[in-house]
Symmetry: C2
Subunit: 308 residues, 2 copies
């Protein structure tokens, strides 16, 4: 198996990971986590979202958080999730320089998620793009339910291609193909990624997986084999799925980094420091996290030989 090069990891625990947690973290707690992630040399962090505070209370302090972390860590890419133009205007007010907006490949999911049809969302994307250009803000786009929709099921490849083409035409930084509810399988990930990279060889693509059905790391492998070198992951595997109580969450940052290291792929991240950050998260939330390496230790961990 020929794998080489270096893989980019985008930490999304503070946004996608935390948003389903009951315990609302203070700005101070979030800053501690950001500091710990940066100690582990994580360079891209989705730190929060600019949505209505009633919808996602956990994200209410995103504004204050950004002001403090952006001042402290000027060499880190802090990304805000924004669902609409209003969100990016709020983000711009505090000087956010990179935002990620979301469109669903499934019309039903898009309506549920942002109360817009796909056509309306694409129109909103154009307005967001125009605004971002004016303010010199980098605009990423996540395509939710790319690998399947919990309401509609399979999404035809042509539907994904058409959305990708639209956002590339409008102008976009990174496109994330997101497996929003953990329906992807590694063959599907490989095949779609391969086709997308062949069609748009100059467009940066990122993949976003949940480990809902245990295939999270297998999907990362499928993506890497197809030539993708950028992945979202969540510290401790925090996340979960609103449809599947008890199911695991986003793929776990430290588990991904561990697998990549074991396969001799570079990430620039310090796994030991990442594990410290994950311990801190577990202690702040006061419950176990789905990630495995925090429990098992690394593959390279050796044990003393018991006397026989």
């Amino acid at each position: 198996m020929k794998l080489q090069g270096s893989i980019q990891i985008n930490e999304v625990g503070l946004r996608d990971g935390l948003q389903l947690e009951d315990r609302i973290l203070s700005v101070e707690q979030k800053i501690k986590l950001v500091d710990a992630l940066i100690d582990a040399n994580v360079k891209t962090i989705e730190f929060g979202s600019f949505v209505h505070p009633k919808l996602v209370p956990q994200m209410k302090n995103s504004r204050e958080l950004y002001e403090l972390i952006s001042e402290k860590h000027q060499d880190v890419d802090f990304i805000a999730l924004i669902p609409n133009l209003k969100g990016v205007i709020l983000a711009a007010e505090v000087g956010v320089q990179r935002v990620n907006t979301v469109l669903s490949a499934s019309n039903t999911h898009n309506l549920q998620n942002v109360r817009k049809t796909k056509r309306q969302s694409l129109e909103e994307f154009l307005r967001i793009k125009e605004y971002c250009e004016e303010k010199e803000i980098l605009l990423d786009c996540s395509i939710a339910t790319t690998f399947g929709c919990p309401f509609e099921g399979d999404i035809h490849e042509e539907v994904i291609f058409s959305i990708i083409e639209s956002v590339i035409q409008a102008g976009v930084n990174v496109i994330t193909l997101a497996d929003t509810t953990g329906m992807a399988n590694p063959k599907q990930v490989y095949d779609l990624s391969k086709n997308v990279l062949e069609k748009w060889p100059n467009q940066p693509f990122n993949l976003h997986f949940h480990n809902t059905r245990g295939m999270g790391l297998a999907n990362v492998l499928g993506g890497i084999q197809a030539g993708i070198s950028s992945f979202d992951a969540s510290l401790g595997g925090l996340g979960g799925c609103p449809f599947a109580p008890g199911a695991t969450g986003n793929i776990c940052t430290e588990d991904v980094v561990h697998m990549l290291e074991e396969m001799q792929l570079k990430t620039d991240i310090s796994l030991d420091n990442l594990l410290e950050a994950s311990k801190m998260l577990r202690s702040i939330l006061d419950h176990e996290l789905p990630g495995q390496i925090l429990k098992s230790g690394k593959s390279s961990r050796l044990y003393p030989v018991p006397a026989i």
Copy 2:
């Protein structure tokens, strides 16, 4: 990603899965589980082991269990794990027709596991083989710690090759390359499997993984890509690791079958019935199991669209 053909699944939950459980299952409970597995069309079941009952109390009723299930299900391959000649003699007494013995690639692990050096274990293998030939018992061999030893670390490929060569020379049915404590990564699995299949194209090989570090299904994918078509798995992902409290166990049968189905690979197993068997196991053990599909449902499970 070109994947095709059909994959053989060997259920090891009743042996490797149960052996670390505190709650000792009665013969009746085990029979119920075997019946449920067979309802799901599982055709190869490692049902127990013939070891000293003080060492593994859970396996104490293996003899009685075999007598009842072998009579009831004559078209199923029931395999007994046997650590030594004494074990196979006990198994033969009740008419067991297929046994699996274990050798460790790591000398330290072999001493810990069966109180023998590797050389002594290979000598024992020859005695077991001779006995099995005389009794017309099929003899499989699992090579423990193939992908790493928790005491010695990496195991050189040449060491694995030499053990494989020795057991093939002696005469063996299926060889299992076992990742005893979940140290394998998919690149390593692919590379070793590829090399082994090239060296011994006519020898049946099987892979045994634990999901200790979250890479279980990724490792299955690596094995399949290399051309392996037979895997051990444990209902509900039961198992665990004596070295890593809280770590997940063997790869989960229903999660593996689900991934294979999603990738259009055949197994002949009914996933729905397998999930019923896993529910039964959870209810008998009265605790949650590490498997994901039992919690999340299949990827194909659709949800009613909520009113907006």
